[in-house]
Assembly symmetry: C2
Homo-oligomer: 476 residues x 2
């Protein structure tokens, strides 16, 4: 460390992804000063290597699939997707991996930014080391918020690290489609990237250790996505435990039992781990590499000045939930700085209540899987009295207008005592925007009796709501 | 009348459109017997001449517009929409205007059907006259439900009836695109049909008497649709009061002041009137041609055995609201037949509460206009304390992924005392399925404070909800 500077802020935020940005923004709006510490791009994974580029890679395929499913329109789709243009469009969303516009936003929001690697250095202190080895010591009068996110996990497979595998970052930022792409893992990243790259020209092989895709969703979701991936030409394999990896020339070879799988690249998408390994957690008595243990105000247990927000706490690894937690945590920080009592009561402005029972997510496969709240399995495990109601979306007029031969399923989990929705899953083309209605119903705890008065406009796909209510009323 | 039969049912339903079908279905499920009386096609306007065929005419244009708005995908759209295939697809939804499948459904549901023209003949009596002049006298032990719907109005324009004008029926069932189509009226039928036929090959001229399109929606809706129609080549004229019409050969000529407008067909879409002219209302002391005066259980004022359901009562001329009223009215009929007290209390299972303040509707123009509840003007007129919150949908990540250069607007009307939503309007491409979230929020009276916990999945267009909440919080 050639020179050291010292600065004091109300709030020091470690990590300038969307979660950190939101913490800083809300505390500044609440009258506190804040600084963001970032070693990579301001804006984080979501903007550059996750949500935005992945959805940009998928959108062209999606809309062409939709057009080809409408007789009369499909006759106009006589050409092929322009892959180079799709990749260029993807690059436009990541601004060519340049974060100037985000930095402009940070400055405009009255937030300071320090570039470099930040590490906790005891209570309320963060030391940032920049690329030249210069250090800045930041002291937080009020709070430090750790928003360092998560990283893709590498499984303990012999030789895997040496074959230069893709993680989600490489999969979303690749400059061209590999001829043959192997994917390890059938969660949402594996499924989305299989959908995207197969359509953009790769021959994709998807290797799943377990016996279904999207294992945390309703089982109908994994079944539908498996069928669709296979119909698109993806080689989907279950029960494949890869034990070794090697390169033969430019070829990647994965070994699983007696089988070998060969490709040009391999994407490892088996899950994520806390990005807390090298951030000085040991200086405050916490375990490096672990998710931060927090309460519903996102305050770290036993360290009232420390908050863990977004992926770093492991509650829900989703951009929108990180931003939600950021809003709630920042409100708690501001309230406490004013001496107000903050107790994390359910659904209060300072508690991330939705994390536990009302988290929405969309898997942008084709079909899409949009879900919120508890699955049937979740309800069973929680011992909640419930009934599952299922209806084929294709039987709804709006769906048949949307696409010829529309296939999809809606699954609702109803609390049979309180008669409210515990969770809803929509599986089918174009269902992403159907989800927020379910999110409001679950979060708002709107009684089924009242939902009968929420009339879906005809003929939209949302009419599925009426069919679910009728199916609920008529019993199983 | 060559011969007369007599039959008695618990419930006699006049009109077998979707409203009548639903009344009959629910009362039969409730243990009553029911008969449907229909002079035309079972299934009614919506199935054959309104919702379904109009949306089928629009869907191909919509999905191609969406594909052309995504760089990478648009390069694949090198051909043109196949208009003949689009018309054939439309015909598949109307089953070639054959109602056999609906008749099968009626029989399967345990409902009787009498074809012919039904007229009230005093208390609890309906006489049906079939095409051969044979009569059947139906007596209702419990109730008669009038579900005869509405018809397109013809304005008092000299000569208009003689030019064989199109109504909504002809516009949705036309076998080919007229070269030049004149449209009288800028409500949702005029706007949708202008969108559809202009894209299918007609040169459309839309004549609106007033100074904006979609006059009952938020003003931003009419502005956006006007701009889009003009960009598509439609000649949109305001302040045009047509006073005379004539045919010159095959040409239709409309006169408005000094101006003449010429076309091959003219669609009259200036609104609808009760289809109650020739149904024997005079035999029970009601005025023929008027909407039936009903309470929230859809019971006709002063005639406890008579119900007016759907368009025939004029409350909300929308298929889905007719079906909603049908469910509520049928529940009231069944409950009263069991001697239960039914008072029409707000949001009860026997009251059509949503009619008044929570009616959703979607105009399937491009951009779409999806709205529920009260507009700002409605709130003003009702004297409700409110604030209007507006946000450009195109600024949301999900919208920018959906279409390059996405343009749209969301308008929320918030009750400033109760802090709940009074109404929401979304204007933009692909917003139809965003609506149901707003409908649930309005109907469920979900407080704004709770809506903050309903997190929109990223990156969907539904993120507009977060922006609306932030705009509300930050003031105007």
């Amino acid at each position: 460390m050639s020179s050291a500077r010292e600065r004091t802020y109300d709030v020091v935020v470690l990590g300038a992804g969307s979660t950190g940005e939101n913490v800083a923004d809300v505390v500044v709006k609440g009258g506190l000063s804040a600084v963001l510490v970032e070693s990579e791009l301001v804006g984080g994974e979501c903007s550059y290597w996750a949500c935005m580029p992945s959805k940009a890679l998928l959108r062209g395929t999606e809309v062409l699939t939709e057009a080809r499913a409408v007789d009369g329109a499909k006759q106009a789709v006589t050409g092929e997707q322009d892959v180079a243009a799709t990749l260029a469009r993807r690059d436009s969303f990541t601004h060519g991996w340049d974060d100037s516009s985000q930095v402009d936003w940070v400055q405009g929001a009255g937030i300071d930014l320090v570039r470099g690697t930040g590490r906790l250095a005891g209570e309320r202190a963060v030391v940032v080391t920049d690329a030249d080895g210069n250090g800045t010591r930041l002291t937080a009068r009020v709070a430090v918020a750790v928003c360092t996110g998560s990283v893709g996990k590498l499984p303990p497979v012999d030789g895997l690290a040496d074959v230069d595998p893709w993680g989600p970052r490489e999969a979303t930022s690749a400059k061209e489609a590999p001829a043959r792409l192997l994917i390890l893992g059938g969660g949402y990243v594996g499924c989305e990237m299989a959908t995207a790259w197969q359509a953009l020209g790769s021959q994709v092989t998807l290797l799943q250790r377990g016996d279904r895709l999207l294992p945390r969703s309703e089982p109908q979701a994994g079944e539908a996505v498996t069928e669709a991936l296979r119909a698109a030409g993806v080689d989907v394999r279950f029960g494949v435990g890869v034990t070794a990896a090697r390169r033969e020339g430019t070829e990647v070879v994965l070994t699983a039992g007696d089988e070998e799988y060969r490709g040009d690249e391999v994407l490892v998408a088996i899950g994520r781990a806390a990005r807390t390994t090298d951030i000085g957690l040991d200086t405050v008595g916490l375990e490096p590499g672990e998710y931060l243990p927090v309460d519903d105000t996102l305050q770290v247990d036993g360290l009232p000045w420390l908050y863990g927000v977004g992926d770093a706490n492991g509650r829900q690894l989703l951009t929108h939930m990180g931003k939600y937690q950021a809003r709630q945590a920042a409100a708690a920080i501001v309230a406490r700085s004013r001496g107000e009592q903050v107790d994390g009561a359910a659904w209060s402005p300072t508690a991330a209540t939705a994390d536990a029972t009302a988290t929405p997510s969309v898997v942008f496969t084709m079909p899409q899987v949009a879900s919120v709240g508890r699955t049937a399995a979740d309800a069973r495990e929680a011992g909640l009295p419930h009934r599952v109601v299922e209806y084929p979306i294709g039987s709804v007029a709006g769906a048949s207008l949307f696409a010829d031969g529309y296939t999809g399923t809606a699954v609702a989990v109803v609390d049979t005592e309180r008669e409210v929705l515990l969770g809803v899953t929509f599986i089918g083309p174009g269902v992403a925007e159907l989800l927020h209605a379910a999110t409001i119903a679950v979060v708002g705890e709107v009684p089924i009796a009242r939902l009968w008065h929420a009339v879906p406009a005809y003929p939209t796909m949302s009419e599925i709501w009426l069919r679910l209510l009728e199916t609920w009323r008529d019993g199983d």
